[in-house]
């Protein structure tokens, strides 16, 4: 029997798709899944596609396919399928309350995801419910899922989507089939960017893909040309022998002026820091003689820099400092403040690199002590 190939948005996750296909072929579709992987790698798409196939009334027996024309497929497309139920954090929130899972207080057990999952499938054999951003389940909501996960109603399939399995209760993890989604390979991001029509030039797609961390969500942030210009300016300053923190601050402040929303400013800052990290990464590989794939600018910066100065220890300190800044951004610390102190520290660290005594210091000085990240 030939395996159905993955629908194209799931190109890079075909190991996942093969697993689903085997489940359907062997007729052992389990009732609870935990989809795990970084944002923007196709978890939601996979949940959607799996549901489409399971619910489809026109598909051949034991094959993971959807016909696209049957009643069920049409309803799902229109978003009105009675056997499809999705829960996500309410607009503008990050948490999923107990009410969404178990029903409002006075309606406990009469509405919400658990109630819906308990109903008989209206059309076919299956009923599918998805909890998106399941890391945002409140402890109460997560606990209320346990009994359902353990002994699910017949025909029900519940999919939890998580970015970080460590944030899920161990009792939830133990009850679910964990499905791991990988970051997309760079080539796949490149291809998807072109296929989706987000960019039109191969060169540009490749450049974005390299910094996208295998995530289409990250890639979508990098579409803006302005970010690349900012990267060029910042890196040119940072690769000076004595970078000026003030100039860096000013540069980035000006660039961020166009963004009024704090969330947007944070996203831009995160993307920029990712690019700075990319430089250190390239330098690290360059330094130990590993292969580096560099664009024009990066190659130039690597070429300019004195490789002897960049001891791996020193790079580690810089990386740790940038990572710390990323963590702070993640915790909603004010963007300007985080960046300003980062530039200051990096500039000092860079300036130190070229002093001869650094060699001795770096032997004894094991990096992290000056930059302690929580």
């Amino acid at each position: 029997m030939t395996e159905a190939s993955a629908p194209w948005p799931l190109l890079a996750q075909d190991q996942v798709w093969r697993y689903f296909a085997a489940l359907v072929r062997e007729d052992r579709v389990p009732s609870s899944f935990l989809f795990v992987g970084p944002p923007g790698v196709g978890k939601w798409t996979a949940a959607r596609e799996l549901a489409r196939a399971l619910l489809c009334q026109g598909r051949p027996q034991r094959q993971l396919k959807s016909c696209g024309v049957c009643h069920s497929c049409t309803l799902l497309e229109a978003g009105t399928h009675p056997d499809w139920f999705a829960v996500a954090p309410p607009e503008g929130k990050t948490q999923i309350p107990l009410e969404a899972i178990a029903g409002a207080r006075d309606q406990r057990g009469q509405q919400g995801l658990i109630y819906h999952l308990g109903l008989r499938p209206a059309l076919g054999r299956f009923k599918v419910a998805v909890v998106d951003e399941a890391d945002g389940l409140t402890p109460e909501a997560a606990n209320s899922l346990l009994k359902t996960l353990e002994e699910p109603p017949p025909g029900s399939v519940l999919i939890l989507i998580s970015h970080n399995p460590d944030k899920q209760l161990s009792t939830i993890r133990s009850r679910c089939q964990q499905v791991n989604f990988r970051p997309l390979p760079t080539e796949v991001v490149e291809r998807l960017l072109l296929q989706l029509g987000w960019v039109h030039q191969t060169e540009q797609a490749r450049r974005i893909a390299r910094f996208a961390q295998g995530s289409m969500r990250q890639a979508s942030l990098l579409l803006d040309e302005f970010l690349w210009e900012l990267r060029k300016q910042v890196m040119e300053e940072l690769t000076q022998r004595r970078p000026r923190p003030f100039a860096l601050t000013q540069l980035v402040e000006q660039a961020l002026e166009g963004f009024k929303q704090p969330a947007q400013r944070r996203q831009v800052a995160e993307a920029l820091l990712g690019m700075v990290l990319g430089f250190y990464h390239a330098m690290l590989r360059h330094r130990i003689g590993a292969e580096v794939e560099a664009d024009d600018h990066l190659a130039q910066w690597l070429h300019q820099a004195d490789p002897r100065a960049w001891h791996p220890e020193a790079l580690q300190v810089c990386v740790a400092r940038v990572v710390q800044a990323q963590e702070l951004l993640g915790r909603n610390v004010q963007v300007g403040l985080v960046l300003q102190s980062l530039w200051h520290d990096l500039a000092r660290q860079h300036a130190q690199l070229h002093r001869p005594q650094y060699q001795l210091q770096s032997v004894f000085h094991r990096g992290v002590s000056t930059v302690e990240t929580g």
Binding site: I114, R120, G289, E313, E327, Q357, L360, T373
Partner: protein, 563 residues
């Protein structure tokens, strides 16, 4: 819908006390209680996920309500037993504590509790995830829980007993469910695989069982995934691919490159493994696991203490243990651990992992650093110490002149090496040994006291000692005046002297003195005299020698760390 598929964990739920795996103590106690007619009215089952709490609760319910019961061996055939196994019995109410957590639900429960069971002997309330009940709900239960009607039994199950109020705990008989040992899990998995008519390599089962870390349901969930492959024969390699883990040998090879200090090869191996489908965080975690096992071997732990390495990987692990000492492994573990935390919070898994690997591979070999220090201590004897500390005090600790800010904690400045090194300003090596003996004697005196006692801590402040006949003179540095005075207090002094006499025989005396501090004011006020300390440190022969060897310039001076 009868044709709906049920997962392994559900189909193989134990149905009798004898089928419980790894919880023999609980099963025996409960069976004994039933046989003797001493069944309590409230039980609390606690333990990690997937060790059998809910299953035991159902078995207990069956044992109590079985047509032939109460019996330690429920028949499993009667209508009651079967409906309990399905979780649908009218008299066994399985309540989800997480969804029915409020006071209203508990009030309702209390109202119904007075009603007699409809067909069986007892009305049994199984409240799962009981830790999620609100405080009010718990309190509403207290009176009922203390003296329930005769026909009512409560069974609470929870993974978090610490969230259950003590007033509830004290009203229940508590059973703690142990984690299940790996061999037992392996055996059970093998049985399931056999019944499912799939051949799974023993090594693959072992891997699954280890991943489950003591939870049977975790193991069963993993096995479920393996069975879903639809193969009739499952190999270790397939399981590795499924779990996103990497064969141990490959991880060990990477660790070998790390320990050999080959950053490039390490990265190449890493890239190969990632290309083969290893997930980066899992790979790091595996690496961490193997480092832990190597660490165990470097400190001489037996093979039974290994948690990650499979038995056949033992020789490889031992080989690696030859490559590095515990200090170095500990440093590597710290780096790997930090990296995992960072990857979790900010992502950039590949970058951070590679940076960490390079750092681990280039981490200076601590043994060599230790050797270098030893070499430094062989400074020519004519070099005299600029900082005089009494006439014959101990050599200054290297930290006082170290130009290694922050790094010195990890420097394995081995005390024996330093103590054996001739202190440049001492008259002869003989007097050094004598002084060491005297200090050792003083330490033994302190060991004779209660460990951790204040007096012991105070006594440890002593800097030097001298034994003349049966008189032990102990000197304290000037800044330890308080310690000296404390030890010299009549009662403390008597105890110290008594301990000394136990060691040296009657007549031994103790003298406690203070070092004269006139010529070294910077010791007491070192914060204000950093400049002076700096200058002196730079002039120190060791520092000059170090600067010469490393072609370096001293940058920073930190005041000496006490102790």
């Amino acid at each position: 819908m009868a044709d709906s598929y049920q997962v392994v964990a559900r189909r193989f739920r134990p149905q009798r006390f004898e089928e419980l795996v790894g919880q023999e103590h609980v099963a025996q106690a409960l069976q004994g209680a039933i046989a003797q007619g001493r069944v309590g009215h409230a039980y609390l089952f606690t333990g990690a996920r997937g060790v059998g709490k809910t299953s035991t609760a159902r078995i207990l319910a069956k044992a109590l309500n079985c047509v032939q019961g109460p019996t330690p061996h429920p028949c499993g055939k009667c209508e009651i037993c079967q409906s309990i196994a399905r979780g649908e019995d009218v008299d066994v109410l399985e309540i989800d504590g997480a969804s029915n957590r409020g006071i209203d639900e508990i009030r309702q429960l209390r109202q119904n509790i007075a009603l007699r069971p409809s067909r069986a002997r007892f009305k049994i309330y199984i409240i799962d995830e009981v830790h999620m009940l609100t405080r009010e709900a718990f309190n509403a239960l207290l009176k009922t829980l203390e003296e329930p009607p005769e026909h009512v039994k409560f069974i609470f199950c929870t993974t978090e007993p610490e969230r259950v109020p003590p007033t509830v705990l004290s009203r229940c008989q508590r059973f703690d469910f142990a984690g299940i040992r790996t061999p037992q899990i392996v055996q059970h998995l093998a049985q399931i695989a056999k019944q499912e008519q799939v051949q799974v390599e023993p090594a693959a089962l072992e891997l699954l069982a280890r991943q489950a870390a003591g939870s049977m349901r975790d193991a069963q969930s993993l096995l479920e995934q393996v069975l879903a492959l639809g193969e009739k024969k499952v190999t270790l390699e397939q399981v590795h691919r499924l779990l996103g883990t990497t064969a141990g040998g490959e991880v060990l090879r990477m660790l070998q490159y790390l320990l050999q200090g080959k950053p490039k090869q390490t990265l190449e191996q890493f890239a190969t493994l990632v290309a083969q489908g290893a997930e980066i965080t899992r790979l790091l975690r595996q690496l961490l696991g193997y480092m832990r096992d190597v660490l165990v071997r470097t400190v001489g732990g037996g093979p039974e203490l290994l948690l990650h390495a499979l038995p056949e990987e033992l020789p490889l692990v031992d080989q690696l243990a030859q490559l590095a000492g515990p200090e170095r492994i500990l440093a590597l573990i710290q780096i790997a651990d930090q990296t995992l935390v960072r990857v979790r919070t900010v992502g950039y898994a590949q970058l951070l992992a590679e940076a960490a690997l390079v750092r681990m591979a280039t981490l200076p070999d601590l043994d060599q650093v230790a050797q270098a220090i030893e070499k430094l201590t062989q400074v020519p004897a004519e070099a005299s110490l600029p900082v005089a500390r009494g006439q014959e005090s101990a050599s200054p600790p290297p930290s006082s002149v170290s130009s290694s800010p922050g790094g010195k904690k990890k420097l394995p400045a081995p005390p024996p090496a330093l103590e054996n090194a001739p202190s440049p300003h001492l008259g002869s090596a003989a007097s050094a040994t004598q002084e060491q003996d005297a200090m050792a004697l003083w330490r033994r005196v302190l060991e004779a006291l209660e460990p951790g006692e204040l007096l012991v801590q105070m006594g440890q402040g002593a800097s030097s000692a001298l034994l003349e006949g049966k008189t032990l003179t102990v000197r304290f540095p000037a800044q330890y005046k308080v310690s000296q005075q404390f030890c010299a207090q009549a009662s403390n002094r008597a105890r110290l002297e008594k301990a000394l006499q136990d060691l040296l025989g009657p007549g031994a005396t103790l003298r406690l003195s203070l070092e004269t501090s006139a010529e070294e004011p910077q010791v007491t006020a070192h914060t204000t005299n950093l400049q002076q300390l700096r200058r002196e440190a730079f002039r120190h022969p060791w520092v000059q020698k170090a600067a010469e060897i490393f072609d370096a310039v001293p940058v920073r001076v930190d005041p000496p760390e006490q102790n």
